[in-house]
Assembly symmetry: D2
Homo-oligomer: 281 residues x 4
Amino acid sequence: MPAVLTHNAYGKSQVRLTKVSRHADRHDLKELSIAIQLEGDFVASYTSGDNSRIVATDTMKNTVYALAKKHPFSAIEELGELLARHFLESYGHVSAVTVDLMEQPWQRMVVDGKEHPSCFIRRGDEKRTATVMLTRKEKHVESGLDNLLILKTTDSAFSGFIQDPYTTLRDADDRIFATVLSANWLYSAPPADWDQAHGQIRQAMLQVFAGHKSLSVQHTLHAMGSAALDACSAIEAITLRMPNKHHLLVNLQLFGMQNNNEIFVPTDEPYGLIVGTLRRG
Amino acid sequence: MPAVLTHNAYGKSQVRLTKVSRHADRHDLKELSIAIQLEGDFVASYTSGDNSRIVATDTMKNTVYALAKKHPFSAIEELGELLARHFLESYGHVSAVTVDLMEQPWQRMVVDGKEHPSCFIRRGDEKRTATVMLTRKEKHVESGLDNLLILKTTDSAFSGFIQDPYTTLRDADDRIFATVLSANWLYSAPPADWDQAHGQIRQAMLQVFAGHKSLSVQHTLHAMGSAALDACSAIEAITLRMPNKHHLLVNLQLFGMQNNNEIFVPTDEPYGLIVGTLRRG
Amino acid sequence: MPAVLTHNAYGKSQVRLTKVSRHADRHDLKELSIAIQLEGDFVASYTSGDNSRIVATDTMKNTVYALAKKHPFSAIEELGELLARHFLESYGHVSAVTVDLMEQPWQRMVVDGKEHPSCFIRRGDEKRTATVMLTRKEKHVESGLDNLLILKTTDSAFSGFIQDPYTTLRDADDRIFATVLSANWLYSAPPADWDQAHGQIRQAMLQVFAGHKSLSVQHTLHAMGSAALDACSAIEAITLRMPNKHHLLVNLQLFGMQNNNEIFVPTDEPYGLIVGTLRRG
Amino acid sequence: MPAVLTHNAYGKSQVRLTKVSRHADRHDLKELSIAIQLEGDFVASYTSGDNSRIVATDTMKNTVYALAKKHPFSAIEELGELLARHFLESYGHVSAVTVDLMEQPWQRMVVDGKEHPSCFIRRGDEKRTATVMLTRKEKHVESGLDNLLILKTTDSAFSGFIQDPYTTLRDADDRIFATVLSANWLYSAPPADWDQAHGQIRQAMLQVFAGHKSLSVQHTLHAMGSAALDACSAIEAITLRMPNKHHLLVNLQLFGMQNNNEIFVPTDEPYGLIVGTLRRG
């Protein structure tokens, strides 16, 4: 029996774009990386090498540059929808377009106490992300953030877990809690202002992280997700992914010293990984 | 209305393990990286910080080392099932266990024309992968390979694609075709020999890649997937992911030279990305 | 003739350390990565496997944790000197100790407009670095910064360069100038305050970068280095390393559009690399 | 007093090149990454932005492609010398040219037991390297290898080292020895065949690594370096850099099991780092 192609998709990834908007008094700067994937009736290209329905991925790349020039856009969610709509409207045989966008953060450099109009500095590895998925019937916009490294030195415990024959971890009533937060949330309706909604959700999560009397990563994840839902009524669900960046307390007794929660080894592997999705009840 | 936790999972990732099996005439070496995720009734830990049903991720790490010692295993699929079964059988409130395994390849060093019994050399970035997912009712085993970089210098064309206002790519009748193959396949039943099945599927895909008169990445992906299904009756479906590692022909006419498909710039970004899933018809 | 060992050194690298200083009103946090290399009379360990004069690299790691506990330190330069001095004073056969330190930046999280006493956020990939090298006769302290990504959207030109048969680059009178600054400077004497000196030098370089009418990367590098020497009398020399993170102007004329210095492709490779060392005249 | 520019250099890095040599019966494939740095009289570009003596780094990139096309070359050392000579001969104000070359390994794919004439597979992360440095008076050619991961499961001990108050490491009489070898050697005269010389030196080092009764990394490094000098009379010195990729024995006694040197955790950090240079006596 011959094989059946049950799923196919293709597109261009890591299309990098820097856009400078040159205003009289200042320049604005955006740096993005974009990935586009098309689904639709492309079976003949797979089965017989018939490319007559194929939009070249090189064309997709050009389209990103052309549309980014043609249309002023502020939030990455807007550019994502522009691109998705373009492919869906241009090609009847395309059934779904997914655009993933990632924004690298640039901040204005502060010189002599003032923000410079045309000079920028990269602040942090935190990325702003968005995924826009459009079909003939549906629109699905998720926004998020990625790679946000946060740490608290107190108000974090972990105890009362299961003791089994392979358990060696001791209860901790005051440990370092560090994570690289990744979160994405689904909009039920477009917010009035994408940037403002993003800022509110981000700030709500950070505020909870800072203030929470954490009994576990799970516990804090849930509180952060709840706060995000409270902070922005335009979102219906949020998923958080919180790897536990373990900080191991160094045993200094061997050297005749007491380690009063002062000296730690930060480790990258192995790491605990906690995920959860919360939805408006 | 309060938030509802609609999905949760947690576990330990990047648990690294080297196992040396010391036989009289030779040592065998395996290097793995393992991730475990549990699903089940953990809601109280999220909502109220009640850890009484939580298996610490540190315990999961210890369990990997203990079971890897206790049970001889040959293929990573076997270790994956051992681990998944352990957590499901030990804890009634766990409903699903997912174990992802990745094997780093070591080969025996050849000294004086002979394979050395206890000395090894890392060959390649190609990884062997497996995912074992167990619930109270189901078992799901996927195997795969990742990061296999292959390239052909001829028998690859791409032409006849859509010309739209943003198209600048020219037809190519003889281009370099390079990709970093990632594939994973679903077993309908355990094969007689995991290693042999893996080898047959891998070899079938490589053989097609080498010999195919490729009219596009899609075209070759489909042929490779079909060959994999043909090569091993124990699998019911296979997904291939083939990024197009573009090699750009350098324009040497500016320097008075003809570039007869000789001098290229290999690039990492942007890249075309082609995916497809084939299922036994 | 037998081989002669003309140079040898060994040590421990990537010793990671997080130190939390717990004050009544706030916690301070430092995250470091440290590498130690010893030189001295270790020849017998190389030639005959005699380890009697070898300080195990594992011992070096323990020493880092013990000294970081014992001695309060503020700047990484201080910890570097403590460590170097320890090995030189403990072992008469050690002739030189080099300690490389790298500090990962953490900032206090701002919650409700106030800096939080125990919650931190990672800001940026910029690292603060130091190298302390001690012998029986000399002390050599270099400090620096690494991985500081900066960009200006105007006041950067590059023209009038050599035209040869392989030149295709056009003169640019207004291009994007982006670089990942790495700099290190040599102290002639310890400054009154390591942190303050570091801040002055860093700020002097950034201010010049922002304001300079750049005619080339070389031109701006020189101006930045001069400003650093002016800013801190305790340093006698500075080396800057400035890769040119090229931003390629996209040709949109093919699509009937004018690209008024708006749409660029940021690229990682290939990249120009400009270095220079300035010394007080 | 004004600052003095005491050192300057600039060039292009990560110029990537794939060259396909199309023979009647087979295609040959080389993939390189090249960096060029020029030294010379460039002071005016630094101090006053006068670019009249500047070869644009973009021109250097073009030169790589043009010369790689014009001149057949087999070993990377040959291309390095071609490039260095080009810049020195074309520009009287250039005093020194350094060309770093790195070759990514491709092997012919084996299909039906035969090497395929035009299909290739990436084998390993090991790189072949070369540095060619030319001045008006000197030529300096170093070749090397990088990122060669090797491991032996026996014949490695480490004992008798210094016991001090911070020592906790126990003597080991049979441990795993793993390293990522990096080596480079200086030719006193060009060998008859660059590839053959490289192969002999590499094989000599591997053979010693496999067979050596190692008493420490230092001990084996010295033996490997000596063997390299013996294997190829055209080299006068060799430097080896051997990070110790520690494999930690897991304590299974807590679970009632004996770990007979079977179960290890491979770790990336911290790591011992041992270096040494041997010269013909």
